[in-house]
Amino acid sequence: MKNSLTVRVERGKKSSAANAGERLKSVLAHDRAGISPAILDVLKEEIIAAISRHVDTQREAVEIGLDQDAQESRLIVTIPLRSINTKRKR
């Protein structure tokens, strides 16, 4: 249990801290990673802006979250790209 537990916090979707367990999970994950939820939101916007300068992204579908286990915290960013096939002009 101790070694393989992951705690995942999703931002970018509506945060589901509807119950105490979810709130606690979120609070602990952010504390451990050293990133507050507010900073994560700012980071998300900046990442979207930076990536959008080079590739075509689906802004609304971007997700950013924290993934953790006992050893480390990770920032996980999922950026769906628009398929170039639909955009090619012939």
């Binding site: 249990m1 101790k2 070694n3 119950n19 105490a20 606690l24 602990l28 504390d31």
Partner: protein, 281 residues
């Protein structure tokens, strides 16, 4: 006899560190161990009153550190349990009066005289915590099943690892029997799975506690108190015994569910078995 020094800390205030220190001390002494409780909360003396020894306080920890009395003179012996001793905190000073190195020195001097030295830490993570943690061989983190307390426990556990005093073990105190049943409350499995700290005991909410501190009679001496039984179990687990978790009221199957989280059948791991389990996994 070379004492194991155990620091009881929490981060959050008011979760039951002093009550735990007093009761685990009493439980160990009742089993014939020579126990010293040290009140590390300088300026906010509490352990004496919880243990019912407040009328015997003459010298305190700061008197010893500043050389106003020999160490042995500050030791208060509990007349009900002659194996149990207390060094009270100073009441008129604050945490600047003692340095972490003083505590280490003190404990080293006392180790040959005792089987267990239990240090009641102050709340917080500043100097009071650093004083209490400096001499620790083992650390127990006390928390309550509510978000602010658990969050602080998580923070403290991280700090303890960072200074190489880990891993700590967790005491979940003031557990109510019907927690989490109404759907959006915090339940015990939430707390344990999120904190990833080995559990050494669960202590139920118990109205005997407030009576016991009013009377100066720790509940570990009270056969009718569930909290008292829980503290006695913690003392046994500290000594390496494997003790099944108590069944709390209204918690059919709870102990089994909990034990799956803790990882070893229907029992809370003793520290040796926990270490082996970690090695093997």
């Amino acid at each position: 006899m070379a004492a194991t020094v155990v620091t009881i800390t929490s981060g959050k205030g008011g979760v039951g560190k002093s009550t735990t220190t007093a009761n685990v001390g009493v439980a160990l002494a009742a089993r014939g161990k020579r126990v010293l409780c040290v009140d590390g909360d300088i300026g906010l003396r509490n352990l004496d009153v919880i243990m019912g020894l407040e009328n015997q306080v003459v010298y305190d920890l700061v008197d010893v550190v500043e050389g106003r009395c020999p160490l042995k003179q500050a030791l208060i012996q509990d007349r009900r349990l002659p194996e149990l001793y207390l060094i009270p905190a100073a009441q008129a000073r604050n945490k600047t009066a003692v340095a972490p190195s003083d505590m280490v020195r003190l404990c080293n001097e006392l180790r040959p005289e005792f089987d267990w030295i239990l240090i009641d830490s102050s709340a917080g993570i500043e100097r009071g915590f650093r004083i209490a943690i400096a001499p620790a061989d083992r650390v127990l983190i006390v928390t309550n099943p509510e978000i602010p307390a658990v969050r602080d426990a998580g923070r403290v556990a991280g700090l303890i690892e960072a200074i190489d005093k880990g891993p700590a073990q967790l005491i979940l105190n003031r557990v109510k029997p019907d927690m989490g049943k109404r759907g959006d409350g915090l339940n015990i499995s939430d707390v344990l799975s999120l904190l990833s700290i080995d559990l050494i005991g669960l202590v139920p909410e118990d109205e005997h506690i407030v009576h016991s501190s009013n009377r100066g009679l720790p509940v570990a001496l009270n056969g009718r108190s569930q909290a008292g039984e829980a503290f006695r179990n913690i003392a046994r687990r500290l000594q390496g015994e494997t003790v099944p978790l108590m069944k709390l009221d209204n918690q059919r199957g709870f102990a089994r569910r909990l034990a799956r989280l803790v990882g070893s059948g229907a029992r809370v791991l003793s520290p040796q078995r926990a270490a082996r389990a970690r090695r093997d996994s």
